[in-house]
């Protein structure tokens, strides 16, 4: 019992970590099987109808397609673990080089959007809970609902129409490159980041509001009120710390969405991120790149959820301070 009490946090964290790895392994299997299940022969499909039997056969050998699937799966996974993602079929470059820069861009855009969206959403959520059922709360709730309801490409085009066509404040194309300065990059991603912010904020804000309101009916909140504390203090210091767990979880889900779900926004703004690469590779039948991007998306998703899990475990004072 003593051992369990002292190490309960470590035990829980270790358990979550191993679940995460297991999930990742299962996903890699699913991705591989999914690609395997695609109809037709890759070599034939890529070389086209005019290719001779010999060139197709040579190409198959080059891609190791003549080997059994189990062996190919493990050599792919083995390479992946060691950082070797294989080479692109479209241009023959190593996939790691191809993905690295684009992944960095995706993370850059996601971080900017998160830096705006998360604090704003949490503060608005707290404010909505503080002034719940007032005019302010209703306006906030209506606006956020409408934001969720619009498709993100629609939001993107509205922002473009407003800020780059009409007002000409920001560029409508976010085609950044490595030579640009940080400030120039920042200027370029304003509109895509704003679009993403509007899309994810509502969800986080509403969850924060709901979690706090849920806590507000607890006896210890009644106690805080009967101690004569002001409303802001009751909500921020007494309710919010106890509402952290659901808030952290919804933030993590939305951060994951910022990385994984930005495909449409990247395409609209011609942003050189991972999502656009994925779309291009699918249309070019560049299967190794599709597989690698899929796995990277999955890993990001799992990692963020893992961090959320661990943070919400740590946010529980009972686990942080055992008896």
């Amino acid at each position: 019992m003593d051992f369990l009490k002292q190490n309960s946090i470590f035990a829980l964290v270790a358990q979550r970590l191993s679940f995460g790895l297991l999930t990742l392994f299962i996903i890699s299997l699913l991705i591989f099987i999914g690609v395997e299940a695609l109809p037709g022969d890759f070599a034939e499909a890529i070389l086209g109808q005019s290719a001779t039997a010999e060139t197709v056969e040579a190409f198959r050998q080059e891609l190791n397609l003549d080997q059994p699937p189990v062996q190919r799966y493990f050599s792919w996974l083995g390479g992946f673990v060691q950082g070797d993602l294989g080479t692109s079929l479209a241009n023959g470059r190593p996939i790691a080089d191809l993905l690295g820069w684009r992944f960095k861009n995706t993370i850059f855009l996601a971080s900017i959007a998160a830096l705006i969206a998360v604090p704003l959403a949490v503060i608005m959520g707290i404010a909505a809970a503080l002034y719940r059922n007032t005019f302010f709360d209703k306006v906030l709730s209506m606006t956020s609902l409408s934001m969720i309801s619009f498709p993100e490409f629609f939001m993107a085009y509205i922002l473009i129409a407003l800020f780059s066509v009409k007002l000409a404040w920001f560029p409508s194309i976010a085609n950044i490159n490595e030579q640009m300065s940080f400030a120039a990059k920042l200027n370029a991603v304003v509109l895509p980041a704003l679009t993403l912010t509007l899309v994810v904020m509502a969800h986080m804000m509403r969850q924060t509001r709901a979690a706090i309101i849920n806590i507000l009916s607890s006896p210890f909140i009644e106690m805080a009120n009967l101690k004569g504390l002001n409303r802001l203090r009751v909500v921020v210091l007494h309710a919010f710390p106890n509402a952290l767990s659901p808030v952290i979880n919804v933030i993590a889900l939305n951060l994951a969405y910022l990385v994984v779900g930005v495909v449409i926004v990247e395409v609209v703004f011609v942003y050189p991120g991972l999502g656009q690469l994925l779309v291009d590779s699918v249309s070019k039948r560049d299967i190794p790149v599709v597989q690698a991007s899929g796995l990277i998306f999955a890993a990001t998703y799992i990692l963020l959820n893992l961090i959320a899990d661990i943070l919400s475990i740590i946010s529980n004072p009972r686990l942080r301070n055992p008896r």
Binding site: N225, K227, P241, R323
Partner: protein, 539 residues
Amino acid sequence: MKKLLEIKNIVIEGQTSDQWVPIVKGIDLTLKKGEVLGLIGESGAGKSTLGLASMAYTRPGCRIASGSIVFDGQELFDGSASLLRSIRGARIAYVAQSAAASFNPAHRLINQFAEGPVQHNLMNFSSAEEKAVTIYDQLLLPDPEHIGYRFPHQVSGGQLQRAMVAMAMSCQPDIIVFDEPTTALDVTTQIEVLAAIKDITRKYNTAAIYITHDLAVVAQLADRIMVLRDGQLVEENDAREILAAPKEEYTRELLSVRSFSTKGNKDKSGNKVILDIKDVTASYTGTEEVLSDINLQIRKGQTVALVGESGSGKSTLARVITGLLPQSKGSVLFKNKPLAPKLKPRSREELQRLQMIYQMPDTALNPRHTIRTIIGRPLQFYLKMNGRQREQRILELLEQIELPADYIDRYPAELSGGEKQRICIARALAAEPDLIICDEVTSALDQLVAEGILKLLLNLQQKLQVSYLFITHDLTTVKAIADEIVVMLNGRIIEQGPKKEILKPPHHEYTDLLLSSVPKMDPDWLDGLLEKRILAAAA
């Protein structure tokens, strides 16, 4: 003396689906400086609502409709939010029933103590810290220098309740409202908290409104008592006078509950043994024993009362008997045949013969099933009755538990707490069991209702010769219904035997502590007892 608080003709309403109905119907209440007023009544009497109204606070869904609340010359009814804030916590403080729920789990005790005085600009944090240590010390909390730096979940229930009294004292208020502060505690811990409350309110000459359903508890503290029923005042008088000569019938009823007891229990020691627990040891983790070497016999038609504090292993023993927690050593024999330790391999017949009634009838009944479904299920499952037989039997059972036949189509939510517990009894009886395990079946009920349930259980026993294993921490109940008493402490049985022998001195030291800790109606009981214990400790 000057009146500190004067509530006049106050009406408090609660919201039901579409209208406001009165909960407190025009009551007057006055409180002088340093005076302790007891508010007593059953649940639903409006005593908590009235107590909170002294701070001009109502729970969500309630409102103060009319009346006046004058505190220290200021009218609080319709008072501004900032006026109320300046009074709450600083001049009138509140102590809730469950300290575990009313302390914020995210903050250390001392931060929650200091928050009041700091926010009301009475002192800075470091002097509040010093003050906390002084008050923790006065309330006899262990290690007063450091206990404040713990989180609420790191101290025991009795300590937490005292820490809450300390928190209420932090601003040295004029009035403290105590809302059933000892109801959730064991008898032995209850005494410590009662003594602490009595001591500190005297020391600081703090006036108090003490809300409870337990007359004997309030008798120890109150100068004056108000008896409430259905939001109206039944009787108000000096504490000693009300105990000695209650004027109203309802007050007399409340007083007489304590004296209920079975007369002339037949000797059942010759009856057949139906449950035999031999050398049972059990543990949840595999290392730490929760039960050690338990030996216990239950005979046909007999009531065995299992008493002990929370954490003594009473409910764990019930889990072992029912197969929810397989024992690590020993055996449980049912009618001379060993029961499988685990639930799965037990036969339907064995399951049928052992039934349980739980503490909270609210959670033990499926809210979406009608009474017909609830009672009919065991009839169908164990006895394979068809529709008409079932209907017939359900009506018989309803008659046995003294509920009208038209309850058959109702849902649990349409029943009162006592009625729901009766349904639980009927459900257990439907299986025609030999033994019913009653786990704290009356502790969630008002005293008068609980008394009715106990009488019903005894009548049923006489008629049906069913045996009870009665798990409780309430010694009054034990005295009323037990044939045999088993006293548990820290997972061991420390004393067991027929009721007469156990209740007759000399007792085991711990049994003595348990018995002497049950509050008596005598207003001098607490002082006398504490004096005796101090003398005994000195000697």
